[in-house]
């Protein structure tokens, strides 16, 4: 999955499942869309099942709590893939 494809997938999840209106890659998730820690946990579950295909460790999930933008989410996913040696 390319970076563009990952970004499109995340935007689709945020639009459909989280009811974001017109999400942009640099939007502040919390300030612009009311995204909170509960949403973050839910989103990680979606990422595991629909993008990564494997379970994240507790440490990996904790690292996600500093994410602020969609670009950050994509960076996070790419770093996880790299660490797990998955494409």
């Amino acid at each position: 999955m390319t970076r563009e494809e990952t970004t499109a997938k995340i935007i689709a999840i945020l639009s459909e499942d989280f009811e974001f209106e017109n999400p942009g890659p640099t939007d502040n998730l919390r300030d612009d869309h009311g995204f909170d820690s509960i949403d973050a946990i839910e989103l990680l579950g979606k990422i595991e099942q629909t993008i990564l295909g494997f379970s994240l460790t507790r440490e990996e999930k904790e690292r996600a709590m500093t994410i602020r933008t969609i670009d950050d989410i994509v960076n996070y996913i790419e770093a996880i893939r790299l660490a797990h040696h998955t494409p």
Partner: protein
């Protein structure tokens, strides 16, 4: 400090309707909300009782995902009626978030639908590589989910009481809310209860041989409170809320006063968890009169708990006769609704308020042949004109918990 407490707004989602006009029309015309039990793909086909007090009309829930994410079906009912009540009250957001408004709201056991999904994860998907328990499943299913979804959605910052005492859940909520205001702890309380469609509750009562099973082909002929041919209760669903306010401040702000709570009692039988107890119930009715400083003759209408179980109705009839004699009219509103469990006290209170306001009383539905042992009461004979001023709403729960609310018509406040 003892202050008067009035009801200034109410709303109920019931098996006989949501808006007041529909509910009143169904009461006046003797229409039941009992329908065939819906298939849940799990228990419904194994349950002997195939009837349910059903909310079968669409409700236009308008909750954004930000709120929906922590709500199970039970919280949808709760937040819907809570929103109605706050909107109708005209209270300012400043007051709502001032800490002077509290919430007393409950359900029988949170959201069984969500709980069932959690258990399904445990029992069916243990080999899944992903956790299928949602991060918010606890918030959606927990026993105080209705109360705190209400506080979250409407920014209420006062006290929270989350009663969960089965059939006395919402009557306790209203009673404890009344006491919060009466004794000066809060100036207003949003009170009520909700219970969602749930076959586990039906299965539990079915196992105890307490559910109606003889009218599966004619659902509207059951439950039959006080009737010779009654054969048990019918579980139902719904949600109901009332706004309680301190009388003087309600008057000052020009709020419409629908009714006054003049007395409340709550006690426990101190013994058996299931069997109705004549001494305990009789004491409850007398304690409410004491709290209201009213003689028994002041009560014009008794909204009986009357679930249509074989023993429960007889014991309740004996208690009513012992306390009130045969003066007040008596009706069992579950004959229209089924037993809406944690919601029943709030719904039955609202029905009593509606009827007193409109000047009529509805009879117990399906009361074709009064059981000999319940004959000493003054059963409401038909839809009758009535200027009833004070109604008693009686509710009794598993665990031996009893409540009685005494409410005065708003026309007499």
């Amino acid at each position: 400090m003892k202050r008067r407490v009035v009801i200034t707004a109410c709303s109920a989602i019931t098996p006989i309707g949501y808006d007041k006009a529909t509910i009143l029309d169904n009461l006046r015309n003797g229409r039941s909300g009992i329908r065939p039990l819906r298939d849940d793909g799990l228990l419904s086909r194994r349950i002997h009782s195939q009837v349910f007090g059903t909310v079968d009309y669409p409700i236009d829930f308008q909750f954004k995902r930000h709120f929906r994410k922590t709500m199970g079906p039970v919280a949808f009912y709760a937040c819907q009626v809570a929103g109605d009540v706050l909107a109708r009250s005209g209270l300012s957001q400043e007051f709502i978030s001032s800490g002077r408004l509290g919430v007393a709201f409950g359900s029988t056991h949170g959201s069984p639908t969500v709980q069932r999904d959690i258990y399904r994860t445990f029992f069916q998907e243990l080999d899944s590589k992903f956790s299928t328990i949602g991060s918010v499943d606890y918030l959606r299913s927990m026993v105080h989910t209705t109360a705190v979804n209400i506080t979250r959605m409407f920014g209420i910052t006062g006290r929270v009481i989350a009663s969960s005492t089965a059939c006395t859940t919402s009557s306790q909520s209203i009673g404890f809310g009344y006491e919060m205001i009466k004794y000066g702890m809060q100036d207003a309380m949003l009170c009520g209860g909700a219970d969602e469609y749930d076959t586990t509750t039906v299965a539990v009562f079915d196992n105890l041989l307490a559910c109606s099973v003889n009218y599966n082909q004619t659902p509207q002929r059951t439950p039959r409170p006080f009737d010779r041919d009654r054969d048990g209760l019918v579980v139902g669903e719904g949600g109901a809320a009332v706004l309680l306010e301190e009388y003087e401040s309600a008057r000052r702000r020009g709020a419409e006063i629908l009714a006054e709570i003049v007395g409340f009692s709550c006690n426990n039988n101190g013994g058996d968890m299931i069997l109705p107890n004549l001494d305990g119930i009789t004491a409850t009715l007398r304690l409410a009169l004491q709290d209201a400083a009213l003689p028994a003759e002041a009560v014009d209408f008794v909204s009986a708990h009357a679930t249509a179980t074989k023993m429960g109705d007889v014991i309740e009839a004996q208690a009513i006769a012992a306390v009130y004699g045969d003066r007040p009219h008596v009706s069992g509103m579950k004959s229209y609704l089924g037993h809406t469990m944690g919601t029943c006290g709030a719904i039955e209170l609202i029905l009593a308020i509606y009827m007193m306001e409109q000047g009529f009383l509805a009879p117990t539905l399906n009361l074709d042949n009064v059981d000999e042992r319940c004959r000493m009461l003054r059963h409401t004979p038909a839809v009758i004109d009535s200027d009833a001023a004070i109604a008693a709403i009686q509710n009794f729960a598993f665990g031996g918990v009893n409540t009685c609310l005494l409410v005065k018509s708003g026309k007499r406040v």
